[in-house]
């Protein structure tokens, strides 16, 4: 019996796995360099929409602005899932706020906001500043990082070809199939990674998130107390779910997606506070509220 392609199985596997590991390592190192960003840049002086962009891109930046405008009483929903103005534009707003407020005046739907010309240019402006400061990963660098996907694809193709050839040659193919699957998963992982924040920004974002834990939807934060900036920051750090916790009717009407912010732990998994907590059995005040609220015979 001849070895398939004149290379023995173990030798081929060694090269194949070696190439896979090499691609993974080089891609990771390349990414590290591409995504490093500017270490001297700080995130603690960024506005909520900039933080939102770093956490979830264009869409989260738009949601964050919507959260702020909603908390300020400037934005509502109209018929057909459109946005409408419900009050004057508050003072001290960002260009993105003005753009969304303007779009609301034209009855634009949330999902079409990003293609509104004024909104798109405001987001672009936001992104440019962040990229210049070494906080955001540019689209170009993201493309560059994804070049290694080609190496992964090549491996998968070779793996499949070898498997087919091995089958024709009546050779065992179990290991090469496993290795090809591994190469496929590696490729998919490289392809799916989408990030907006550089490593420099990431660290700061983590700190920002822990400083603002009180804005996490798990705490049902009182947005009236935290104001428009708090609302915008809540969405920026904890994703679209924060809009639902702030104003479920508005968020549902506006068809806000419950996208999670990249670092946030807020999924759409329901249940919220656990039903098996120490005080849930028949409790009517299991989530921290004392029994006084809203009622009439309080303590």
């Amino acid at each position: 019996m001849n070895d398939t392609w004149g290379i023995s199985g173990p030798t081929f596997l060694t090269y194949f796995i070696g190439a896979m590991i090499a691609i993974a390592i080089i891609a990771a190192v390349h990414r590290k360099a591409l995504f490093r960003g500017n270490r001297s840049s700080r995130v603690d002086n960024l506005g909520p929409q900039q933080v939102a962009y770093l956490n979830g891109g264009d869409r989260l930046a738009i949601y964050s602005s919507m959260g702020g405008l909603r908390a300020a009483g400037a934005l509502g929903t109209g018929p057909g899932r459109t946005l409408v103005r419900t009050g004057p534009l508050p003072a001290g707003v960002t260009p993105l706020d003005s753009a969304i407020y303007n779009a609301a005046g034209n009855g634009v739907r949330t999902r079409d906001l990003h293609s509104d010309q004024w909104v798109a240019s405001a987001v672009e402006q936001l992104r440019d500043t962040l990229e210049r400061n070494g906080l955001a990963v540019s689209a170009g660098k993201m493309r560059e990082a994804r070049l290694w996907v080609l190496g992964g694809v090549a491996l998968v193709v070779i793996g499949i070809a070898r498997t087919l050839a091995g089958l024709g040659n009546n050779r065992p193919v179990g290991f090469i199939i496993l290795a090809t699957i591994a190469a496929f998963i590696l490729t998919l992982t490289m392809l799916r990674t989408r990030r907006w924040a550089t490593d420099a920004a990431h660290k700061g974002m983590r700190e920002l998130r822990s400083q603002h834990t009180y804005l996490s939807p798990a705490n049902s934060p009182a947005y009236a107390t935290y104001g428009a900036t708090g609302a915008a920051m809540g969405v920026a750090l904890f994703g679209g779910a924060a809009l639902y916790s702030m104003d479920p009717a508005f968020a549902a009407e506006a068809e806000v997606q419950r996208i999670a912010a990249t670092g946030g732990s807020v999924g759409s998994s329901g249940g919220g506070d656990s039903g098996s907590s120490s005080c849930s059995s028949g409790s009517s005040c299991s989530s921290g509220s004392s029994c006084g609220g809203g009622g009439g015979c309080g303590g």
């Binding site: 822990s210 603002h212 834990t213 009180y214 804005l215 798990a218 705490n219 049902s220 934060p221 009182a222 009236a224 107390t225 935290y226 104001g227 708090g230 907590s277 120490s278 005080c279 028949g282 409790s283 009517s284 005040c285 299991s286 989530s287 921290g288 509220s289 004392s290 029994c291 006084g292 609220g293 809203g294 009622g295 009439g296 015979c297 309080g298 303590g299």
Partner: protein, 272 residues
């Protein structure tokens, strides 16, 4: 509480960020049932403790006034939370919240009878045996009274405190609500309570519906309640007073304004 703490606030997760931002805060209260006895503390609460703020666990579901003995697990939880928070004191209500296996979902008033005094005192003693720090008892606001009261409110409360050795958590909003709904003078109750046993004081808002004053904790603190704070402090100033707000939270400025109003009414320094 032996020390003087001044003005505090009820810590709630919804306003954790606001409470954290109060520079002069020296004491706060947390609903005991919302704190895990062993798991991690809510971050905002941990921050307060790290800053040296005294945090008092406030039970709402022990049902001290229930005819049946308090549930051991609940008492143990309260004790564990007190230890966790390193609290100098715990507090609960003179009320019952369940009977015959049904949860009322609320604090319900007791008949002011000797039988009820016996029941409360027996339960307070059970708690005292398990919890290493003193307990303060809070009289509640009730929209209705039992038909067969034998004692006045002052007699009822004094008897419970005397026999159990517990301290008093006086809620001036409850005093105001009860007096207003019964058509009596709130200052009169202050004159007949052992004010030297007040550990701390609750101040809360309410609203009137259909001629009855509801102690909602979701409305602003009305001026008469603040006046009652002043009347109380003129008689005997308690070591600590706190704002109790449970929902419909207003903008931060309004909440800070309420804390300042309590500070003014009591003569303590502002914490905002």
């Amino acid at each position: 509480m032996a020390e003087t703490y001044g003005v505090g606030i009820g810590w709630r997760p919804e306003i954790a960020g606001f409470v954290e931002g109060l520079p002069g805060l020296r004491f706060a209260e947390v609903v005991a049932e919302s704190v895990h006895a062993h798991g991690e503390l809510p971050t905002g609460l941990q921050v307060l403790l790290d800053r040296g703020v005294t945090v008092i666990p406030h039970g709402v579901r022990l049902s001290l006034g229930g005819a049946e003995p308090v549930e051991e697990a609940r008492v143990e939880h309260l004790a564990a939370v007190a230890e966790r928070l390193n609290a100098p004191l715990v507090s609960e209500h003179i009320a019952f919240v369940r009977a015959g296996g049904i949860e009322a979902g609320h604090l319900l008033p007791l008949p002011r009878t000797r039988e009820a005094v016996d029941a409360v005192v027996a339960n307070v003693r059970r708690v005292q045996a398990a919890v290493p720090v003193p307990i303060a008892l809070e009289p509640i606001a009730a929209l209705f009274d039992w038909p067969d009261d034998e004692l006045t409110e002052a007699q009822f409360l004094t008897e419970i405190l005397d026999r159990s050795g517990a301290q008093l958590l006086l809620d001036v909003a409850n005093v105001y609500a009860n007096a207003r709904n019964r058509g009596t003078d709130p200052a009169d109750l202050l004159d007949h309570l052992p004010l030297d046993r007040v550990a701390y004081v609750h101040v809360a808002g309410g609203a009137e519906h259909q001629g009855l004053y509801h102690d909602t904790h979701t409305d602003a603190v009305p001026q008469p309640v603040l006046d009652l704070v002043t009347a109380l402090c003129e008689r005997h100033r308690p070591p600590a007073l706190m704002l109790e707000r449970d929902g419909d939270y207003p903008p931060a400025a309004a909440l800070a304004g309420e804390l300042d109003a309590i500070a003014r009414a009591s003569g303590y320094p502002a914490v905002t």
